[in-house]
Structures are given as structure tokens and as C-alpha cells.
Symmetry: C2
Subunit: 149 residues, 2 copies
Amino acid sequence: MQRTDFGQMACSIARTLDVIGEPWSPLILRDVNVGLTRFEQLQADLGISRKVLTERLNHLVAHGVLERRPYDRRPRFEYVLTEKGTELVDLLMVMVGWGDRWLAGAAGPPVLYRHHACGQVSHVELRCAHCGQPMHAGDVDPLPGPGAA
Amino acid sequence: MQRTDFGQMACSIARTLDVIGEPWSPLILRDVNVGLTRFEQLQADLGISRKVLTERLNHLVAHGVLERRPYDRRPRFEYVLTEKGTELVDLLMVMVGWGDRWLAGAAGPPVLYRHHACGQVSHVELRCAHCGQPMHAGDVDPLPGPGAA
DNA sequence: CACTTGAGGTTCCCTCAAGGAACCCTGACT
DNA sequence: AGTCAGGGTTCCTTGAGGGAACCTCAAGTG
């Protein structure tokens, strides 16, 4: 697929895409996050080619997003999110928010999320980690960082 | 690319991927967001094939994420973010946050962001739009929504 | 013991998308 | 009329995704 190597670019967006930018990868993480952790479960739920599923899982394991671990004395394995992978779920939640708002149509969102802390059906909002105020497209200025090219 | 049609799935993640899941699309949005709005600018900055760039721009325009508009009496066009597209930048900011944290390495992040409201270099944090408390992977329960399959 | 079963892949072929270079079209400028 | 630049389009080659068939290992069954 991606013949251009995004991982070498001096851009955190490109680097993130190098890890989860291939087709199916975010959907695999979504499924793993809700407990579909085995090869057969993922293949059945997604309808993905077994070959591609193998490639994606290996890639995600190689990048430390998933951990492959045995769950039986037989050669059976499940894939679980690492801490690195768990934090990627934030990205999925933002995708859900945008998709719900702009793509759900008249039928409404296919899934709702109840927030444990308040018990309400809600969605994510982006805030500044420093001051807690909203932080969106026009609210920041980019500056060259230490890892700039 | 994506031969499987994610747009038809009853999942906001899959639907979002149908819009911006193809290779290069998030990087195009990143560039447009920082003012690289013309075909030649995008092609030069990204190093993307002209053919693929054409396809991506048409796709993003067709989905209402970008607007193509003339900026000269000659047939010259620029691509600008719609409101729908501007809200997608949230997704990019979360990708930046994750990439900075997990992929930047010893060199540190290539770009820093100063938040207008507080003036500090900061990053985004996900909060519940209802109660304002943190909202991450384990903080929600999914429920079937009105648009469920 | 041989036989079956199921998870977790691997191999094969086919099609179509990405990369890349060359080419084209249009309107302004000289 | 000739040139130039922006914004594409066309063509070919390579390689990734889809899909079906096949393989392997260990446990369970008779």
C-alpha cells in the first residue's frame, strides 16, 4: 500500500500514520478494544482477508501497539492493547465524535457512549492539557520543536 | 486502494476512514490547515504523485471536507477547509499528541504548539463534553445508538 | 492408536491502486 | 506568435488488497 515511508518524516502525524495509517488498522484496534482479541474473531467481525489481517497484526505488534500472547497450552494467541495502544483509542474516540456529527445522517449514531464519571451519554471534547480551555484548529500557533528537521 | 467500502459500515470510525482513511489524506489536511492550499504547493511539500494528489483532493471536495475555489481570473484554484474539514483538524491534533509522546524519540517533537488562551506550549487532552472530566479508553461504556445496524 | 476439529496462520493468483514521468490545456504576459 | 506557470491528465510499472485454498499444531474422541 503506502509505498512512501511516512515513518521517516519529521511530522508526528505522518509517523502516527506509519503505525496505524494502513487500511483496517484503526478498525482492528476498535475491535481489540471491545474484546475481540483473537484472530478468528477479528477476521469474522471485519470480513478482512486473512492475509491482510496477519500483516496488520504483525505490524501493530512490531510497533508496540498490540501484544501477542498465548491464552492456551495449544498454540492459541490473543492480541491485547499495550499502554501505547490504549492511548491510541483516544484517536478512535475523536473519529467517533466527528463521524457521529458529520456522517451519521438521519438515522443517528450507531453507537452511544456513556461516561462513567457523570453517567451521561456524551462525547469527547478537546481541551488544553495546561489550562483546560478548548483547544481546536485555530487556537494554537505552531513553533519549531527540538526534533525539527 | 481500500477495496472494501468502509463508508457503508454502521461504525463512525469506518465512515470517517472512508473520508480521510486513504494514504496522504491527513497530511493534505495538515498542509491545507497551515496555508499550503494550492496544488503545486501541496505536491512540492508532500512529494506525492500528482495523480494521487488529484484523486485525494477530488475525494475530499466530494465529501465536503475541502472547498475548491478560484483565486484568479486564470483557472487557478485553492483548496480551503470547510467547517466539516476544520473539525477534522481535531483528529490531527490528537495524532500529533500521540506521535509526540510515543514516536518522537530522543530528538523530541518536531513541532510544538502554543495555546492562545494560556500562552503555553501544550497539547490536547480529551474531556467529556458533558462534565469536563477526562474521557479515555476505559472511561466509557458503549450502548446501541439509534443508527445501529 | 488413527481420526477429527478448530485456531491461527501461509500460499497462490488476480485485480486495482500508488509512484513516477511525460504530456496537455488554459489564460496571461512579452 | 512564443513563452510561462498552474493545474491537472495519461501512460506504464510495481506492489498491495481480496479471496480462496491449503497447511500445521495440539487437543479431544473412539
